[in-house]
Symmetry: C2
Subunit: 603 residues, 2 copies
């Protein structure tokens, strides 16, 4: 009933919007909105990386507008003390800001009630130094999440930790993985009621991926679902009702692989997850199959490069959809799933939006895994689309990788048309704002043997800019109509997350170090500020104790895209950083290492 009233309210509001000069992204039935559980009254906090469990990254704070954003000034800054890639989101709870640094994963609490936001406390987990050696792509951390008085986050050496938000004291720490196998942890936990969800990294090291739920109070592992292997270990049982036939069958996590290859098949869980409390389902993507050399692993390689819906309390799978069956391009499925409720062909649908590495923005019914649409948001020549009947990605034969043969000009490259950098959905415009890449590659499969704790890739890759010569963009995408509204090109991959606000401003950072504000409706550049290092993090916004709106972002280049700088890689070796260096040889001329928080406000 609540749902019904909402749709009526929407329709009533529509004419108002139509009268504006801006052509709203909506179909005939109304406009998309975040689900009710994500759209509560704005309290000015930012308690989890994606703002809410629907992952909208939208704030209803509206003091900063398209008119006045040009007046933004730096309110204060804070040095993290570590100059590797900074990917975390600054959180704000009760007038305290919390930030997690790259390795060694220090958690800082800054007191926003005092001028200059002095350090309140810092928590130092002291992760094993050896963990740095097995991290594939810099030593990043995507930050913490808050619930019930505690901050939860992961360390590079595989601990999930809870820290008391007031005191900075460790509440518990649980060992989740094993760095000697090449397993690390970089993702931000997702809060699901009384639990948190975490997963592992290391798909390029032959680890076996998993996701796990931990009890917030005790740190006890409530369930752990492996991403490959028998159904019993993948927590696939009677409740599992995938939408497409190719995901149906017993123990596909074994049978869709050569013998035992699933044991070292990657399929980690290092990206984003969302949660729908109305149905108690968690949605998270799975990473690429290992090794990259796809001829070494015939089959669909379940449950890689797809998305699971699972019961948050039991971990039992409800459905699965595979974006990239038998992935051949390192196209992890770990990108964000943004939960919105839409009118679709006259009916309300609960969907999730997932801009995948393969270049398609998927709109999927989150109740059953049906793909409603899959529209390209960047240049793609390696597939022709998604068959909505079978759900299968349609690969282009001549772009398929081969052993000992260089296949040229495959688009998109392994980091995809979009990697981890999370999109933002604005209910005010109804658009999805996608920071993304624009990269192609030459790739050659080569033989590789598995040695525990060492790289297990089997491919020579040289990435390069996509058509037009730029390497990134931020695109405003009308997912209802399946079309781009505007796109702003970036020289380097747009490797930071996006943030939208009620002031109709889109914030994001560039790898050169510019922090930018765009007009959400037109993409016009309204303001920019040059931070000290490239930005690859997640901007957030909050209301300070003084009632003013602030925008916060970490500067510090690195990550996979920026490894040439943070890892001081030699640009003469184009295959370094799994081929990314070839496309980023000029990054060291544009920026250097850093690690700094910037907070902005109006004067």
């Amino acid at each position: 009933m609540v749902q019904k009233i909402r749709w009526i309210a929407l329709l009533a509001a529509a004419p108002l919007f139509v009268s504006s000069p801006f052509s709203l992204a909506q179909d005939e039935a109304g406009k998309p909105l975040p689900p009710p559980f994500a759209a509560g009254p704005e309290d000015g906090q930012w308690t989890m990386p994606a703002k809410n469990v629907a992952s909208t990254r939208y704030s209803d704070l509206g003091e900063i507008t398209t008119d006045n954003v040009k007046n933004l000034k730096t309110a204060f800054t804070f040095s993290l003390g570590y100059n590797k890639g900074q990917e975390a989101a600054p959180l704000v709870i009760d007038s305290t800001m919390y930030i997690v640094s790259s390795y060694p994963n220090v958690l800082y609490a800054l007191d926003l009630t005092q001028s200059g936001a002095p350090l309140k406390w810092k928590y130092e987990p002291k992760p094993s130094a050896a963990s740095q050696g097995v991290a594939c792509c810099d030593v990043v951390n995507r930050g913490a999440a808050y619930a019930n008085g505690k901050l939860f986050y992961n360390t590079l050496d595989d601990f999930t930790i809870a820290v008391d938000a007031k005191t900075g004291k460790e509440a518990w720490r649980t060992k989740m993985g094993d760095i000697s196998k090449g397993e690390t942890m970089t993702m931000a936990p997702l809060v699901m009621k009384d639990k948190i969800l975490v997963g592992d990294s290391g798909g390029e090291m032959g680890v076996r991926g998993w996701a796990a739920a931990l009890d917030q109070n005790s740190g006890k592992i409530v369930w752990r679902a492996y991403s490959t292997g028998p159904d019993s270990e993948a927590l696939i049982g009677a409740d599992f009702k995938p939408f497409y036939d190719s995901d149906k069958g017993k123990d596909l996590g074994v049978s869709s692989w050569p013998a035992d290859a699933w044991r070292i098949g990657g399929c980690t869980v290092w990206g984003w997850a969302s949660y729908d409390p109305d149905v108690n389902l968690v949605y998270y993507g799975t990473a690429n199959p290992g090794p990259w050399n796809a001829d070494m692993r015939p089959g669909d390689n379940k449950w890689t490069a797809g998305i699971f819906a699972r019961d948050a309390d039991t971990g039992q799978a409800r459905w699965f959809y595979q974006f990239n069956p038998h992935d051949i391009f390192d196209h992890d499925g770990v990108n964000e799933a943004i939960l919105v409720d839409i009118p679709w062909k006259g009916q309300p649908r609960k969907v999730l939006l997932h801009p995948d590495r393969n270049g398609y923005l998927y709109m999927i019914d989150r109740t059953n895994g049906e793909v409603l649409s899959a529209n390209a948001f960047d240049y793609i020549n390696s597939s022709t689309g998604v068959d909505l009947k079978t759900g299968r990605l349609q690969y282009v034969k001549e772009k398929e990788t081969k052993p000992n043969t260089v296949v040229r000009d495959i688009c998109p490259a392994p980091p995809g048309a979009k990697d981890w950098q999370p999109s933002s959905f604005s209910p005010k415009t109804g658009l999805l704002y996608i920071p993304h890449n624009h990269l192609c590659m030459d790739m050659e499969e080569v033989e590789v043997g598995y040695i525990e704790g060492t790289p297990y890739v089997g491919a020579n890759v040289h990435m390069k800019p996509g058509p037009g010569g730029h390497r990134g963009a931020v695109s405003a995408f009308d997912f209802m109509q399946g079309k781009e509204i505007w796109s702003v090109k970036e020289n380097f991959p747009a490797w930071s997350g996006a943030l939208t606000t009620a002031g109709n401003v889109v914030f994001y950072g560039t790898m050169e170090g510019w922090f930018k504000a765009l007009d959400a409706k037109t993409g016009a550049l309204l303001w920019q500020f040059k931070t000290g290092s490239g930005i690859i993090s997640q901007p957030t916004t909050y209301k300070g104790p003084d009632g003013k709106q602030y925008v916060a972002v970490l500067s510090g280049v690195g990550g996979w895209a920026g490894a040439i700088v943070s890892g001081q890689l030699d640009k003469r070796d184009g295959t370094a950083a799994l081929g990314f260096v070839n496309a980023m040889k000029d990054l060291p001329d544009a920026t250097g290492p850093g690690g700094e928080l910037y907070v902005f406000s109006l004067p």
Copy 2:
């Protein structure tokens, strides 16, 4: 004749000033001014650390005033990529900014003509990593100096280097010292006509100090004057006319030491130097004698803890004055010498102002080394003053250090009432602005043996805050009247340089990371901004290509005072960092490591 006209002009201008509500620091004869060679028309550049060879650190730019400084905003930032203590001054020549980082001493050129000041080039000297191990007090560098198309600076591993300012190509590099002996280089070169002056660091390692002049074009060493040893090596000859008897005699650099102790007696030259082109004299201070255990080295220990005037072309000493004969507190004489011309008892005098570690601000006739006045600018209990007849510092017997006995509550401590942090002289107010320390100590002499390349100190020191509990201050000092006009207390030592401007604003940074603007007349805090890390560097100001006034400063805590943070020292060991840690145990709670340029301007 020029000189005479100047004094007349001064007298004529005086009534104007007297009519202001501010009581000008001046005696009956007029007001102090920088010498004519330092007071040319303001060109908006900042070509050497101290602004000019008179070391005034005063800029005639006046767009930023006491009225509008509150509106300052961050124009852009730049990450140096290294999180050790940043002590350098940002230089600006022809719309390019040049910065030198802490070890590994990267020289960056930023293009000020472009938005966000992108990197134009960087020069990486790649100093030996071993040099870090012999640096006494963090791996700082005090920056570069510019002349005739080249930037000159020193590397921690003892190279003096010239870099083409346009291209970033190395013009020459000259090896000046030997890290295997514990010798490093941290000072900024001083430009003297066609030469530069440099010196060595390492007084706590038993090195033998020297200063040297190099030819700007070729890098050839024109002269090198050792600070200890026979007159022939100290370049003391017929021209040497010290003012006081205790500096007269043959080979005092040998005879004022126990046998051979002068060979390992320190007396390095790592601080500031000034130059008077009218008489072609360079003025530079010499560091403490080694070891700190003074009972191991009876005698005056010439030529330590004093100041030399030398002919810039030949290096021949003209005069010497010893601030701290037989220094017992590590009171180097390397602090700045600011050249001003004053009326004194009815006569014009060319003087230098030197705020020494021992707590006295010396006003010395720079033509002959006569001390005109020596007034305390901080709390002192270890001496009662300077005998102006003999020039001798009057030590207090009960505060003299002893072997194996802890002498308590000696003030000031080894870093002195003031360390390297350079003062600024404003001709508009006639005051000297002294950022300084406020520290006392307990000290015990202990036996130490000399081993090449290892610490040679022989003292256990525990520093602590001075009376009142604060550890630093910025004081406006009327050196003509010998009194403080105002003083602003700081919790930590004020370890950054000061900058004054025609807008009557005093800029400096704090170890918590605040960059502050004070009213030069009253000391009132007009504006402050919280940078990412503690500030221990040298603020500068310049006119940008857009005609606006900018203020630049590096943030990045460290140096001797901040070694507990930059060196991650254990606060349980109070004697660490030569006893400084004991006084700075709370610094890690106030700030963390960083390395970032901040540039500010009005909106």
